[in-house]
Amino acid sequence: MIQAAEGKGRYGRFGGQYVPETLMGALTELEEAHERAMKDGTFREELDGYLKDFVGRENPLYFAERLTAVAGGAKIYLKREDLNHTGAHKINNALGQALLAKRMGKRKIVAETGAGQHGVATATACALLGLECVVFMGKEDIRRQELNVFRMQLLGARVEEVDKGAGTLKDAVNEAMRYWVANVGDTHYILGSALGPHPFPKIVRDFQQVIGQETKRQIIEKEGRLPDAVVACIGGGSNAIGMFHPFVDDSGVALFGVEAAGSGLASGQHASAMAEAKEGVLHGAYMYVLQDDDGMIQEAHSISAGLDYPAAGPEHCHLHETGRVTYTAATDAEALEGLKLLSRTEGIIPALESAHAVHFACRLAAELTPEEIVVVCLSGRGDKDMHTVRNVSGGGIV
């Protein structure tokens, strides 16, 4: 075990700034700009205005009555991030960071994307604010999410295909970081998940915690009390940290993070960094990272492109180590089951990412009493996944 708690941006033993010297100045500039912005009423007002009128917040906390009946236990509520403009929680952060970039005088934006949701959200924010945008996306993800590529291009972004490695999210982050190093003078990197060097995990949390803040207010309005459990899916962990953070000090609320177990944890074909608990450094932060005994980063495997990342963000690693959040995993098959179940019981087709959380929440609810309350972060909608779901269902409806 490594103790390196001296530097900046630590979550217990995790986090830090393991990046090339070329980026250190930009990270300091970003940290200062972010701190100033968060204390500046004008910035908050501008962001809140866009969140309300452009994104469509606040979005509902919805009681899923028929899903609750099928699960057969606790009441299940869904936090409807899928109803945001662009279809997922990603826009909360993309918009916040794009506004921040504008304040810093940076008119060019680079981003990575896995499923394409963060890429679309970033391209959208850039179109809105008149910023130049380039998005790096893995070859395999481009294949899986072809329409999102078209969407980004329609929004005026340039999409760069990454054919290195397995052509998924990890490779897209590598290329985006290389691009940022080369263009750091006039470009801001909008990282899409609660990952990367400090201050990114904190910035992403700050812009995503609106999810948990609204949920807290809404559940008190509806039930007069806090929930017994909150569930969210985890790739890098941005929707989860946004949902969990406002609840961390409420000890009566159990928190569950659901990683992607792919073909099953025993198969080795999965994306559950917590399950293996091997520590290391990837993309600038000390975290749990899927890797072999020689420290080579391994490819993650998941049916959902958005969870296909071989590490979990540093704050999640810390929350795992302290035991405040319980981390578990759902397989590809379970996620598909969750997707179909929610579609048929509630008329809501969730993103495959969110379907991991739905599946686990149903299992959890079944073990609880009807008086108890479970909230699920429904981080995105499933439109982008129809191609994938149809293919694995053999082209028909199962």
Binding site: I2, A4, E6, G7, K8, G16, Q17, Y18, V19, P20, E21, T22, L23, M24, G25, A26, K164, G165, K170, N174, M177, R178, V181, A182, N183, V184, G185, K278, E279, G280, V281, L282, H283, G284, V289, Q291, D292, D293, D294, G295, M296, I297, Q298
Partner: protein, 265 residues
């Protein structure tokens, strides 16, 4: 502070007015069996030290040429452990510097890694994803090891950062000459001469320029501006194609001495 052998050796060359030439090679490219032969070749060609790259799955500071060399090395089964084992089998007269990303070191265990470096006769260490603020991760274990932790300075480093880095620098200062990744460049920024002059002023120990320097003319140009140069991608590519004269030419340019002037210091 300056007890490292590498610091002493390179400092002596600098003080003698001799230009320093450090080629980079990817360990395990061409098979681990080629390692010692290539080090000997580089020494005979006139290198002052050899930078030995360790392949990594996610080399985010490297361009195409070194990325692909790393992939070839990984396919051949190269690992950090195997490279250090191999180096320990034979000693070389020329100082050896290991360049590796941080994660393979963590996977090996930091104390174990440093012990194996000593056993292998490694005198210097370059870790591109370990900036000054995070260096205690290694330095707490390195005291008294005799191994120099070589810092990088970039074009983006503020004067305050340069001063902070230079004060604790060991071995030499690796002056990154471009914003970007490793690999051939046709042109460099116009402020580079001033930048390197300021760096040399701030640093007692040699300042070596690297990233993008790929032909003898560029080697000569940067030797006028710095205390020496590092050439990576061009050397890696020459080993791949077998055109070793390219390396001899680079090293020849690298070994040219500056005219000796009497100084009053």
């Amino acid at each position: 502070m300056k007890e490292q052998a590498l610091t002493r050796i390179l400092q002596e060359k600098k003080q003698a007015g001799q230009q320093i030439f450090v080629p980079y090679m990817m360990a395990g490219d061409g098979g681990i069996g080629a390692l010692h032969g290539r080090i000997e070749f580089l020494a005979a060609a006139g290198a002052d030290a050899v930078e030995i790259g360790i392949p990594f799955s996610d080399p985010s500071a490297d361009g195409e040429v070194i990325q692909q060399a790393g992939e070839r090395a990984l396919s051949a089964g190269t690992t950090l452990r195997k490279v250090l084992d191999c180096l320990a089998e034979r000693s070389h007269d020329i100082p050896l510097i290991v360049m590796t990303y941080l994660n393979p070191i963590i996977a090996m265990g930091i104390p174990h890694f440093l012990g194996e470096c000593r056993r292998a006769g490694v005198l210097g260490l370059i870790v591109p994803d370990l900036p000054h603020e995070e260096r205690s991760l290694l330095t707490v274990e390195m005291t008294g090891s005799g191994i120099a932790l070589i810092p990088l300075v970039s074009l983006m480093s503020s004067p305050e950062r340069v001063a902070m880095i230079a004060e604790e620098a060991e071995g030499f200062i690796y002056a990154v000459t471009v914003n970007g990744i490793t690999g051939e460049r046709n042109s460099f920024g116009s402020g580079l001469g001033d930048h390197l002059a300021k760096l040399k002023e701030a640093s007692e120990i040699p300042v070596l320029a690297g990233f993008g320097i790929s032909n003898p003319a560029q080697v000569e140009k940067f030797q006028k501006l710095a205390d020496g140069v590092i050439v990576g991608s061009a050397v890696v590519e020459a080993f791949r194609t077998g055109d070793l004269d390219i390396i001899r030419e680079l090293a020849g340019a690298g070994r040219r001495r500056l005219p000796q002037y009497e100084t009053f210091s």
